[in-house]
Point group: C2
Chain length 555, copies 2
């Protein structure tokens, strides 16, 4: 490559394509960079669209602007970035041998010659099978999808809304419809809890509770069988039930747009997305791909995963520009870090859920804790629920997830770096974070989580935080205020405070004991003590704070 002038053609003007184009134009100013884009409007922060609907972001136009307020249109890219973006121009065919791309635009059909071709074709929303098109049945994928919904809400035409799919977008939409507009929202999910692909069922159940506390009706294990729409409304038949609404939004994920890649004979992976190596090269020479149309290997399982995230698309675009410029860069396997705001809760995850890890052939265990995001004496300290999936035979950590009012994403960011480095439990106990009372407890919750897993391997065994306690003999070691705040629903409960268990151990019945406290810390200590005394005992991992929402205090 080097000094020879080159022609680069990029298909798709969103994050990956434009990042690649702009960087290439900077580091190879002699090259000719052309981006073709099927849509009229492009280069907008699509991840912000739910927040336009919710009113957090005032107007749609904000998403198209730079941080300093300039609209990112064709003139911006040609003037500021020396990149030729041709909008409303569809790539219809590619000739791999002759290195040409056929496009159809406002000026008709044209053939573009390229030395290197980049496919950044993105993804399109998945549709439910056998559902007819109707203005009351919508997806939420591009700017055009936002306006009619927002107008319908503003005009009061949408009072009841159904959302099919409680994934990232579905959960964001539930908040968007309910919080500002007060719409009655029914969230319909085929899996056992919201966010089933990201989270353990226990954490998903806690998020379902939080959605319900915010007046969202959540139907889980509910497959959509049919949708009928007419001028008056929409009726959704789900497993054993009918849901009526003014509008339904189908948010069941996206599928990579790979028509052009298929036409070029490029290899696709098991996810249906384009297979690329660490340099973003496809199986065909001189054809590269990046963004929502590719799959990348998971750092945990090695299997290809399709993660349509703006952060990854941006990074892939930069890597690809460096590679094309001959600078040597690479995009390694991904950990799959993700975050989503669900009303007042921050939710984030990285790596595999226990379910996905088992699918990939791992033998796994799970640890749960309730932690605080700051020193417990800091007045703004908030709770976070954390879960860790690990392989007990190697002690390798396969996934970490968290949710709660407190700062969760910070812990997941750290876990992502560690999981990317194939870290084991011991590395998680050695994290050195920037500690001060307003930022973290002296022992950060991520370390507490790893210690809980280590202790579990040492015989201090936790049962899942949502486990049925009906048949258990429960030892509740909390203080009275805690018991009142989060009452326990179990048939056999012995109440002995933590500090007194040692001297009152003889009061315990002879059956196996399930020890319960607020966060799972004291109860784990008591389990160790009971086991040392020859008793059979387990503890409720995560404690009652995970399981039950606090009752308002009597003042």
């Amino acid at each position: 490559m080097g000094d020879v002038e080159k022609r680069i053609v990029i298909v798709g003007a969103s994050a990956a394509g434009l990042r690649c184009a702009c960087r290439l134009a900077r580091i190879q100013p002699g090259w000719k960079i052309t981006v073709v884009e099927a849509e009229n409007v492009f280069s907008y922060g699509a991840c912000g669209m739910p927040y336009v609907l919710s009113g957090d972001i005032e107007e749609l136009a904000v998403l198209r602007r730079t941080a300093y307020g300039r609209v990112r249109d064709e003139d911006f890219f040609s003037g500021a970035k020396s990149v030729d973006v041709r909008s409303a121009t569809r790539a219809v065919d590619v000739d791999v041998e002759r290195r040409t791309l056929i496009v159809e635009g406002p000026d008709g059909r044209e053939e573009l010659d390229w030395d290197e071709l980049v496919l950044a074709t993105g993804a399109s929303p998945r549709q439910l099978p056998k559902v007819e098109e109707h203005s009351r049945v919508r997806v939420f994928h591009s700017l055009d999808d936002v306006k009619p919904l927002k107008q319908g809400l503003m005009r009061g035409e949408i009072g009841e809304v159904a959302i099919v799919g409680a994934g990232l977008v579905g959960c964001e939409l539930a908040e968007a419809f309910a919080s500002l507009w007060g719409a009655d929202v029914t969230l319909i999910e085929a899996g056992p809890t919201p966010l089933p692909d990201l989270l353990e069922p226990e954490l998903g159940a806690a998020i379902q509770r939080h959605l319900e506390e915010n007046d969202v009706r959540v139907l889980v294990n509910s497959k959509v069988e049919a949708i009928e729409a007419d001028d008056y409304g929409v009726r959704i038949s789900v497993t054993g039930e009918q849901v009526a609404a003014d509008m339904v939004v189908v948010a069941i994920g996206v599928r990579p747009k790979v028509g052009l890649a298929k036409a070029a004979g490029i290899d696709l992976g098991t996810t249906g997305a384009i297979v690329v190596d660490e340099t973003m090269a496809t199986s065909k020479p001189h054809i590269w791909a990046a963004g929502d149309c590719v799959e990348t290997p998971s750092a945990v399982t090695g299997n290809g995963v399709h993660l349509p995230l703006g952060s990854l698309a941006n990074r892939q675009g930069r890597v690809l520009a460096n590679v094309l410029a001959g600078r040597g860069d690479r995009f390694p396997a991904v950990t799959g870090a993700m975050a989503v705001k669900v009303f007042d809760w921050n939710v984030a995850s990285v790596g595999c859920s226990a379910w996905a890890a088992r699918e990939a052939g791992y033998d796994v265990k799970t640890a749960f804790v309730t932690g605080e995001d700051c020193a417990h004496y800091w007045p703004e300290a908030k709770l976070i629920l954390l879960a860790m999936v690990y392989d007990p035979s190697t002690r390798k950590v396969l996934g970490v997830q968290g949710a709660g009012e407190g700062e969760v994403a910070k812990r997941i960011d750290a876990a992502s770096l560690l999981i990317g480095a194939q870290a084991r439990l011991d590395a998680f106990t050695r994290v050195e974070n920037a500690y001060a009372p307003p930022y973290a407890p002296a022992v950060d919750s991520l370390m507490v989580l790893a210690c809980a897993a280590e202790n579990q391997e040492d015989g201090v065994i936790g049962i899942g935080p949502m486990a049925d306690l009906d048949d258990a003999v429960v030892l509740d070691v909390r203080i009275d205020e805690e018991r009142e705040e989060r009452p326990i629903a179990a048939l056999q409960v012995v109440e002995i405070e933590f500090e007194e268990v040692s001297v009152r151990i003889d009061e315990l019945p002879e059956q196996p004991i399930t020890v319960v406290c607020a966060h799972g810390t004291r109860s784990a200590e008591i389990v160790r003590r009971l086991c040392a005394a020859g008793r059979e005992a387990r503890y409720l991992a995560g404690g009652m704070s995970w399981r039950v929402r606090a009752l308002p205090k009597n003042e």
Copy 2:
């Protein structure tokens, strides 16, 4: 070790000693664990003391309680933890051969036999030389130091206060005195800026500005020559100036308490603290040490560093318990991650400053950026100023620092993991974080910072954000609103907006150009473009947002 019953004696009942004691009692229930503590009151969250003074935390007693409200006193540790804590008991001598510790307590002198001895003796506040004791001249180190200050403030007896030392505690105290109590605070620092050991001078200068905006008078490069106190007040003579106050607090750091270690012939390091290996073993067999009395190797330089942080002390205590129990654990080299809240700013750092890295023999360069902590279109996005210190010959990152209203600690936590893994710039560009608009920009600011450093090595050279622009030919590529918000003070300024530079390049004078924008992003792009056109150009790293506080907008 294993099943044989052992006697462990621990000197010091704060974080390291108690964490070690409690874990040992749990995992080796047959062992006898004794902790001797010179003070009456122990086991409190000392890091929270400034926030008691400021009123953020209501009362001192909160710091002594568990998260669920129980006081951590002798009864708590014996009942709940099976650890015998003997307060008001001073360790006066140690016999290494006979394995005994002489203590003096309420019941007189006594000899304690041990199989393993743990020194967790902590640190004591540094004092200024030649300053006589007086009730108006104070330190801020233990619970006893808080009460008289808070009472003085509540009674209105302290209206003017001087703080000697603008380190972590000095900065926290400045806020504590000023924010709730409205005291007139003068912060006196011998170094060139606040927090001189942690931060580049540029970042220190930004923090000085923030302190001054909050009505703290900051005297830098100011050595205290004398302090005189009487019934009416205190007069502090600093370089070229006299400061009068009702009270002065000396916060110039701590020194490790090593009297007992010295008496035992234990090796001390260059910092004056006890040298330990990765297992927390001292140079004498069967004697171990942990917490604020030890030094540990820096992960960056390999040199011993003394970091009296509650987070490290806790972790060392756990590691030592595991080691003593024969479980094999280790405490590796430290990155030195730290955080401090300074009024509305979050400040954090990890690794070496450029100054410290040069002292350790590194050739270093620095990169600066202004970033946002969320997607720029997220309404609550806030600015953060970030600096990176790296070795251009190896591209190894030696330190990262940040400050601003936005979320800084999260970026420093990630940097800490990377620096601990000896990461180079390229690893910082590959961070996979949990992205969603409320949590991070699509390209996180930490990655932008690493890219700025990479670009600098590629010839896109930034000058320090506080550089003198008087003699420079400045090209200001901002838009009008930005220029009004943060005016530039320079003699020769050409104003051409970013988007128009390409077509107006001939308007530029022939001298070397200094390009300026808001955050340092657009200006860096223009530098690359100007250099490609054969011009000599640099940019103001971090941009005007780093350099100048925004003026209030005319509405």
